[in-house]
Symmetry: C2
């Protein structure tokens, strides 16, 4: 007979992620932070009531696939094209500098000197940098919207850069993961990635047409999001199975392909329900459930602190420099840099995938989770600080 | 590394249940029939491309829990109270006569004579009757709505009876399942069921209050359906774990408890998305995937035919008699009897649960699926036939 303990696991995960999410929301933090903390509490670190099972792993995988599909669906390709050069430069420097910074921190704490490293050791160190590249712009967007600053030039630049940043990040991540399989030569990895890009372009052209047609013909019909689901699952599967490209890249691509059809908001709405009602809480909780914090060594503590500092400064410097180079004032460049600090689910997704692929020791989950939480908390505070002067001068202007 | 074949399984299940569901819809049949056929095609009987796995079993369980929760949410307790006596008599006879009929068919095909049967053999025969009790009124409702006959006295009687029928059916089913566990004595089963009813009443009072409060306070907030989900999972778990009452009874109860709060439609909407986007297709397909039709014996063929006849006639006679006894004319009693013929997901749910509990051999899946499909197809045709005269006489009346 079917063991129904998984029902209890799900109930515990859903209630605790929601309640803690609401608590963190109450103190102006995103709910993701609460969900992460819920996982840590349920896992071996504290209560040890929910354990990693094959079922939870698969549900978490569906959760992360759903999140990446949603991220793809929310990508505003037009916005990205509009901001063009400026956003691209901000995004590129905002990826390269954290990548380099994370890599340097990792090397500093590595037992092996750089010259003696094997390919996999080198990749592991680069991977720490990769984790630092992904911006989670949702917190910034919410903060800016609250302050009425979303439609300013700095707001638009941040939005555009965050989109491009995600795409560069996922390409980088895909390449690094490709190299992580020791059984395959460098040349064949590059060919595989190249083939995937060719495949992606063909699929994008064909299925963008297919979904445009479906979306126009079957307005508000259930079949449209269901076909979207099937497309997302298939692309995730094919990416990983036939090209060795991680499934979430396929899911993200599927989302981007459908993002500009007429009913993309309708499809998005259905996926959001699926995600928040069941799948994404399992994903976020599973990170904590997999993480076992037992007596952090002082070495790891220093590593965490350093990684955190680099995570914050490298985005401010990288994105700020990009903004400055494309004509923003010093003040606005600082705003843009600060708006790009926060890391969110993408950093966790990348870390999780890396751990599964053997690119990251589970020990590093703790620093990564801390980086995500702290940068997420810090961003709205710093944003309010730098935009405050703005508001005051506005008030002064109006009152004069 | 995580084996991602489950992504492909899900994609195949979702696309095939949807496409076949749309095909059956096109020929005026409910989509459930298409989804069932999809499962049969994917399973060992025909293509053998999707196999039963622990993951699919658990997802299917979540699917059936979701369906029963939705059924509970859709229960109109007020409507039931309003129709009162008439609906109750129709439902009661509409349960007892199919129960007796199915039992007799099962006994006729049993190898053991009735006098020599063990308790479990007896239960197995009764169980065939239990499967025949559950009415699936959705097809009737759709047909009547199309013909503009839903708000007639016969339409109201059918609706009310179908609700009570479901409740009697699930109580019966719960009792039979309780007896199926050979390790427990009859007395302790009865006590357990009694305790469950006490528990159910207390939970109903407390949580109806809690959800009314939540529903009024947090209008259109995500937390409300999430708490509903948690409540449904918890009640499913507790029912089975602590009372030995099958989890779907708990899910159904959870739905009824929340059915009359202000935002029950909002909650229902979210669960419908969860259900049709992912969970219920897996449940329906899993029935076919578990069913292996290989050379049906002539004996099983006769059994199927007889069971089908009994399924149809026992509802017409039982419900028709109930209607007649409570004052309906012969013609209207026939309409009510015909409106109650169709079996649907509940019969499949009961059969599936029975198979897991050792109350039904998997061989009987085929007859049950056939009964569900044929009764579902027949009901709208017969309804159109008996209501046709009505429409013609109405037209005559108006044109005169």
């Amino acid at each position: 007979m079917l063991d129904i303990n998984f029902l209890l696991d799900l109930a515990i995960i859903l209630i605790s992620t929601k309640v803690l999410g609401l608590l963190t929301k109450k103190i102006q933090m995103p709910q993701v932070v609460g969900a992460l903390i819920a996982g840590l509490i349920l896992g071996p670190t504290i209560l040890n009531v929910v354990h990693e099972t094959a079922f939870i792993d698969k549900m978490a995988e569906l959760g992360v696939i759903g999140l990446m599909f949603i991220a793809g669906l929310e990508t505003d390709v037009k916005e990205m094209k509009k901001c063009g050069k400026s956003s691209f430069v901000i995004a590129l420097l905002g990826v390269l500098i954290p990548l380099g910074g994370g890599f340097l921190v990792a090397i500093a704490f590595s037992d092996t000197p750089l010259s003696a490293m094997s390919q996999i050791e080198l990749l592991k160190n680069i991977f720490i940098g990769v984790i630092l590249t992904a911006t989670s712009v949702s917190i910034t967007v919410e903060t800016l919207r609250e302050m009425g600053k979303l439609k300013t030039p700095t707001g638009t630049a941040i939005l555009g850069a965050a989109v491009i940043d995600d795409i560069i990040g996922i390409i980088l991540f895909t390449i690094i993961l490709g190299f992580a399989d020791p059984s395959i030569g460098v040349m064949s990895i590059l060919i595989r990635i190249l083939l995937f890009f060719v495949f992606a372009i063909i699929i994008a052209i064909v299925f963008n047409y297919v979904f445009k047609h479906l979306s126009d013909k079957y307005v508000q019909k259930r079949r449209v999001p269901i076909y979207g689901m099937v497309f997302c699952l298939m692309l995730s599967y094919v990416s990983e199975k036939f090209f060795g490209i991680t499934d979430i890249t396929g899911a993200y691509l599927a989302g981007i392909i459908i993002s500009n059809v007429n009913q993309s908001d309708y499809i998005l709405g259905k996926f959001e329900v699926l995600s928040y009602m069941l799948l994404s809480p399992i994903f976020f909780a599973s990170i904590g459930i997999k993480t076992h914090i037992t007596g952090i060594s002082s070495n790891l503590l220093i590593f965490t602190t350093l990684l955190l500092l680099v995570a914050i400064l490298s985005k401010i410097i990288g994105c700020g420099l990009g903004a400055k180079l494309t004509g923003f004032t010093n003040e606005n460049s600082l705003k843009i840099g600060i708006g790009m600090i926060s890391r969110g689910e993408v950093a966790l997704i990348v870390a999780g995938k890396g751990a599964v692929a053997g690119l990251m020791s589970k020990v590093f989950f703790v620093p990564v989770v801390i980086v995500v939480i702290v940068t997420t908390l810090l961003t709205p505070m710093l944003l309010k600080l730098v935009y405050k002067r703005d508001t005051i001068s506005n008030i002064e202007k109006y009152s004069s």
